[in-house]
């Protein structure tokens, strides 16, 4: 490891990288602070910008957005009781009450410090665990990799929507869209319908601009245009955190960081699950559980450290196996692959200097997030109240410019529009979009492994059950599916019980 760290440090500490980290952190904080905008939307909009960069600055920029997005969501959660991102909802429970007690700056500082600790802890875990997992990944062959892809897709399809079957249909749709263009093994055209521009396939960023960004613009039809007004002059406390408060934060921050890392490694789970789980654990273990929900320092620290501890952990399965932990890091995979960096052991050996620079860069990203958070919080607070009338067309123009810039043509803008309309229809049918994204990303990897394995076995599908690793992944798929189905059945039972209770109350009235 040490032989890579010295050259990696040299590659990382350049003015260009530092600049892109700071731009990423700033953009990510701003996007996450605005309710209705998400980190994934931000990464999608800026992904085309990274296509012209080399691997390290491109990844630093995206990681800056990703990590700062973890913290930025807490700004609006604390200030206006509206989480900027879904995972900041747990922070809101105590952050806003503390703000109402006249300690807004203190609440923001607690969230910032806890986020930074969680992020650095997670980055260190990635640094130490990543190469070890990659060594195991190196032992996997073509059929095993296909099983890994199926495992990743199954678990994500299972947890991303209300219904597992709908998730599987979405994943199949994503994988089918990934088939459009030339056959990866024979170069014959597939599903091009005589449109010459489709021979090269559909660009991931263009599809995602439609699926995740333009659909949010169409969703403005569903929402009322409520203005979020915030008087930043109200943030006038000294932001002081007492020694006893710091002491009380230590245990929940440590435990939640560990929970965040463990949750983040599992594909399909994410920052929301980590922050809620950590919040409830911190409450159970606290000497002052009565303070939770009323401005507890421990509550804010637990939720924030957990959701940022997910950031590095989600990269472990991504960089070692090519399985993205969540939708946002799935996009980072394409940023890596465009620079010829493929997940697996070679990433930690042949391209070790670049990889270690990226992993060390994640620590740097968190440090800069802390610095920007400390000095620019008032500015982030101001962006919370940017009017939707201005924000909406600006996002659309960014989407169009981003889609055009991928291949310098308007065909891609049209494709993005079609995907936006398709995503709107899918939303009406309650179809989750994340499995489509995963299908699009993993499609390029799943099909070649599937076909190569069958070529080796001369068409015999028994090859997918031939090795111990294949059987382990098969067992994992069965366990995951069983767990998901059990969870869904429990949820349905609870819903039915709640509905019955509500009906009883209604009858009594």
């Amino acid at each position: 490891m040490l032989e890579y760290i010295v050259p990696a440090t040299g590659l990382l500490f350049t003015l260009e990288n530092i600049l892109w980290i700071n731009i990423g952190v700033f953009v990510g904080s701003v996007f996450a602070a605005i309710p209705g905008l998400s980190v994934i939307l931000c990464v999608i909009l800026f992904l085309p910008v990274t296509y012209t960069m080399t691997a390290i600055p491109g990844m630093m920029f995206l990681l800056g957005i990703y990590c700062a997005g973890g913290y930025g969501g807490s700004v609006s959660a604390i200030l206006i009781n509206t989480p900027g991102t879904p995972h900041a909802a747990a922070t809101m429970l105590d952050g806003h009450p503390l703000s109402q007690q006249g300690r807004t700056k203190a609440a923001l500082k607690i969230a910032l410090y806890a986020s930074t600790f969680g992020g650095v802890f997670s980055a260190l875990m990635l640094l130490f665990l990543g190469p070890q997992v990659a060594k195991i990944a190196a032992q996997l062959g073509t059929p095993e990799y296909f099983m890994v892809c199926v495992f990743g897709l199954t678990i994500i399809a299972g947890v991303s929507g209300k219904s597992m079957i709908r998730g599987i249909i979405s994943a199949c749709l994503g994988l089918l869209i990934a088939c459009i263009g030339s056959d990866p093994m024979t170069s014959y055209d597939r599903f091009t319908f005589g449109v010459s521009r489709l021979y090269l396939g559909l660009d991931l960023a263009v599809c995602l601009i439609g699926l995740f960004a333009l659909v949010e613009i169409l969703a403005k039809a569903e929402k009322r245009l409520d203005a979020l007004h915030l008087d930043t002059r109200k943030i006038k406390d000294d932001g002081k955190i007492t020694k006893s408060e710091y002491k009380r934060m230590i245990r929940p921050v440590l435990l939640s960081s560990l929970i965040g890392v463990m949750v983040g490694i599992i594909p399909g789970t994410g920052a929301s699950e980590a922050s809620w789980f950590s919040y409830s654990q911190a409450k159970n273990m606290s000497k002052h559980p009565e303070e939770f929900g009323h401005g507890s320092v421990e509550g804010i620290a637990a939720a924030e450290s957990a959701n940022n501890a997910v950031t590095g952990a989600t990269l472990i399965p991504l960089l070692t196996l090519g399985i993205p932990g969540d939708g946002t890091v799935a996009l980072m995979l394409s940023a890596l692959m465009i620079n010829g960096l493929n997940p697996g052991l070679s990433l930690f050996t042949t391209d070790g200097d670049i990889m270690y620079a990226i992993m060390l860069g994640l620590i740097l990203v968190n440090i800069f997030m802390c610095i920007q958070g400390k000095f620019l919080t008032t500015l982030f607070a101001k962006v919370v109240s940017i009017p939707q009338e201005i924000l909406t067309p600006v996002i659309v123009i960014f989407c169009f410019a981003g889609a055009y810039s991928v291949n310098n043509n308007y065909f891609d803008v049209g494709v993005a529009l079609i995907f936006g309309a398709l995503a709107w229809i899918l939303r009406k049918l309650d179809m989750p979009p994340v499995p489509i994204l995963l299908g699009l990303v993993l499609g390029k990897m799943t099909e070649p492994h599937f076909r190569r394995a069958l070529l080796i076995s001369n068409g015999d599908p028994a090859i997918f059950f031939s090795s111990i690793y294949c059987l382990i992944f098969l067992a994992l798929i069965i366990v995951a599916v069983a767990t998901i189905i059990r969870g869904k059945l429990n949820d349905q039972k609870k819903e039915r019980a709640a509905a019955a209770a509500a009906a009883n109350v209604h009858e009594e009235e």
Binding site: V49, S163, I165, R166, I168, I169, C172, L173, L175, L176, C179, D183, M185, T186, Y188, D189, R190, F191, T192, F193, L214, I217, L218, A219, K220, A221, E222, L225, P387, Q388, E389, I390, T392, P393, V394, V396, I397, F398, F400, A401, Y404, S405, N408, Y410, V413, G414, L417, G420, W424, K428, L429, D430, M431, T446, E447, F450, R451, L454, L455, G459
Partner: protein
């Protein structure tokens, strides 16, 4: 001008009120099952024309899409059977309410997006579409603040300039 604009808004409001009351429900799982079953069957049907293969291939380019569509057909069949069982046993289905007012508003937004795109394409000047998009959305949101118009158009031109002159995108 102001009066005719107010009259236009009043007419839109009255129309919107009428549409708001118009809702229809769809059995969402059954609909998803049927739509994607048809979709998978159509893909299977057009596969021979759309995916050219060589006779010599052990595993050809149709194998993976066929596998995907088979999985989709099984999943859709499971959804349909589940919903038909619910109907047979008189259990409640999962319904989704579609509101016509929301859908009309979404269509208007889509129209703004399409016209902006067409303007970019026809004039070959991205900035023209960007400015139309800014004005279109401000009009859609019934914005009456002149400062918002100035700010949004300035940002629209700014984004075009940043992509054109800083990132070197040729549009």
């Amino acid at each position: 001008m102001k009066q005719s604009l107010d009259r236009f808004h009043a007419r839109m409001d009255a129309w919107g009120e009428k549409l708001r009351e118009k809702e229809f429900r769809i059995p969402v799982d059954l609909t998803v099952g049927v739509i994607f079953l048809i979709f998978a069957l159509v893909i299977m049907w057009i596969m021979p024309q759309q995916v050219v293969i060589s006779e010599k291939d052990v595993v050809n380019g149709r194998a993976f899409p066929t596998l995907l569509m088979t999985v989709m057909i099984i999943a859709c069949a499971a959804l349909i059977v589940k919903e038909l069982y619910k109907i047979a046993t008189k259990k409640p289905l999962t319904w989704k309410v579609i509101n016509l007012q929301v859908e009309m508003k979404a269509l208007v937004i889509l129209a703004i997006l399409v016209i902006s795109y067409m303007l970019c394409r026809v004039t070959d000047l991205f900035v023209v579409g960007a400015v139309f998009c800014a004005l279109g959305f401000l009009f859609y949101f019934r914005c009456k603040k002149p400062s918002y118009y100035v700010i949004t158009i300035a940002i629209a031109v700014g984004i075009w300039a940043a992509f054109r002159f800083v990132l070197g995108v040729d549009f």
